[in-house]
Amino acid sequence: MDAVLIADDDLLLRMVLRTALERRGFAVEEAADGDAMLRLLGSRRYSLCLMDAGMPGPALEDRCEWLRTTAPDLPVVMLTGQADVPCRTQCPDMRYASKPIDLGALDALLADAGLIGGQG
């Protein structure tokens, strides 16, 4: 079973994303901050990481740098609440998705990562 890591400090958001992903057959784990996220990413292999760009913990650049070096193969989608947040210019090589995410957008992300049928 593909495992998806949801890293977001918003409990409600994690809850609904977990529900949506579990319904689609994924194993879901949650991290409420950057430190927890990095800990979990180091502990096991995930098929996808959905990461809040603005959550507490290490700075975005540091997280991105960690991902590039430690988990270069992990598909990561940066969730952002703002249309043109500076992090896009800070870490331009990351994949981004704008909140609010709806089911259509979520499915597109999963398809993009090759985790469900569709494009890619």
């Binding site: 994303l17 249309a83 994949r95 909140k99 609010p100 890619g120």
Partner: protein
Amino acid sequence: MKAAQLSAAPAAELAARAARLLGAAAWSYDADSGIFRTSGSFTTVFGEGDESAAVLSETLALLPEPQRSVLRLSLEHCLSTGEPFDFTTALGGPTGRERQVRYVGEAVRDEDGEVTGAAGAVHDVTPILAQASSRDILEEHVRSRLDQMPTGMAFLGPDWRFTYINESAQRYLQRPGAVLLGGVLWELFPEIEGTAFGIAYRRAMEDRVVASVRGYFAPIAMWFLVTAYPVGEGIGFHVQDVTDDQRNVERLEESAGRLRAQAALLDAARDAMHVRTLEGEILYWNAGAERVYGWAAESMVGRTVCGLVAADRSAYDAAMETTLRTGHWSGELAMRTRDGRTILVDCRWQLTSAEDGHVSAVFAVESDITEMRHAEQERYRAQRMESLGVLAGGIAHDLNNVLTPVLLSAQLLGDSVRDPQEVELLGSIEAGARRGADLIRQVLLFARGEEAERRVLDVDSLLAELADFCRKTAPRSIDVEFLAPSRPLRVTADRTQLMQVLVNLVTNAVDAMPGGGALTIGAAPVDGGRGRVGFTVEDTGHGMDAEVCGRIFEPFYSTKGPGRGTGLGLPTSLAIARRHDGGIDVVSAPGRGSRFTLWLPAADAPADSGEGIRPTPQEAPAGAGLLVLVVDDEEPVRDAVRRVLETHGYRTVEAADGRAGLELLERCEASGDPVAAVVIDLMMPVLGGANTLDRIRSERPELPVILTSGFDPSAGNESRPADAAVRFLRKPFAEAELLGLLGELRSRRRVLL
């Protein structure tokens, strides 16, 4: 001359009357008889009694001393010598007053010339003497006054000799009167000849005119004002010491010069400066005031300042009241210029006092701050926008976080809920969340401007979506009518942004009709069909006057009242329209509804397929500075590919053949700037595309590669095992195809490998 003659008829009576009136009397003395006769009026001179004839001794006895003795002696002298006499003597008259009596007499002779007596007159000269005395006093007074006068005065005879010179003149001429009197002017003061003073004297003397001259008299270092004028045969002149005056004049001229300089400074000042009386009459009006108000000083001085005051007379009066009470006032007033503009003026008013301390005028310095205030408002607006941007960015993240669970939950529940009513409720939740997200987007859009994602859109489908919105939101009291375009219309626009504008216009229209009305929405070609498409939203609501119409596109201007409008809807709409090379026009009148027209350039191309399907647009792939190696033997192709890639954020290195390409690949890796993707032409000299790909794969199995060829690429690829990191691109290829493939490979690299 006998007594009989005196009493002779009428002539004698006349003589007697004259004598009486003049206070005189006649007398005679006959030496033979010793009789002293007096005329009738004699007694009125000397006392009571009629005309008399008596022995001399008796008459003399009547007279008081010293008169008696003087008369006797004079008579005796006259009789003995024949010489006349004339004396005046004091007489204690009967009234006791001191009087002066003049006796004149002469000898009376017979035919032989022998003195036989004497005759004469006696005259009361008291009044005459009194007159003479007062003349003397007057003369003395005049003389002393003249001498004491600060003005020097002198008279010169026709021979230029001084006949009079007062003390001041003596002082000015620095010679005593004794030396000057009788002296000739030109001999005493040869240095005067030829000077302005000398010329004035000669003119008065020779031309008999009054000549005035102000000049400096060097010998005594003084300034004099001299006036020479003809007097009798000679001349007179006044000399006034005007040395002090002259200094005053010089001071005045100096201060006048300073004033002129100050006036020039005042005129050069940007500020309007004026002085006005407490009643408002303009006394002074500088050039700045002319510049500010348009009125020239000539037309303002003497007029009242109230002519300037704009509509708010009460504000002016209040300011004036404060000025009078506290001595000064500063603040802003709306004023009217000559050409009728209303300007905002920063005023500093100060009461000024005359030298006597009497408050007399208001000195006003006023600057036109209309422009400044406008710029200030612009600055504030920009600051507000900036704050809004920061605020919006700050809240957008949180709000989108809040909305995501709402949206997702509603959708997830939708999978299991079957009750149509509940489905509808879930739909409302979802729609609400989406509208919230749109709102955030709108604020972000206005505050920062957002890159529009332009597509060719069918106007019909836009109107259909709008109709759907109206059905859901418009109250029943409003009749909504759609006027479909007569033929298919297309525009190039960001669908979301365009809908936002239309929804905003519709919402405003609905809000303008709280009591219901008709809402007409339509789209039609404008400008005769080609070129532009106009979307009209028309209501029958309360309408707007010209002033409101002029302000509705200002940010934060809202007529909807606190808590209702953000004041951002129309400004954002206009901003969006302009970013689409379009605009918004409005026609409205109070009570007659409003018609808003959003116009956009028409699009010729067919509408993009799939528009509106993707709720969240995918981010377009961008180069992000990744290094791409381009290997192609044709330089124009390399150039074209490089241009495309660099335009979209990639960096490129180029090689003309496979071998050079591989060398470059290694060099880049060695330098720490590895190549992220390779674009290889299949048909190349030295090392063909396929061989190059093999070499690349031996070392770098995951490096994304795009193979380009003018031939069907599948032909040369049949024997090749499937390589996920390779894409084929057939020449000639479109920019989008190349970029799309690169993006695909990049995301694949991250997502799949």
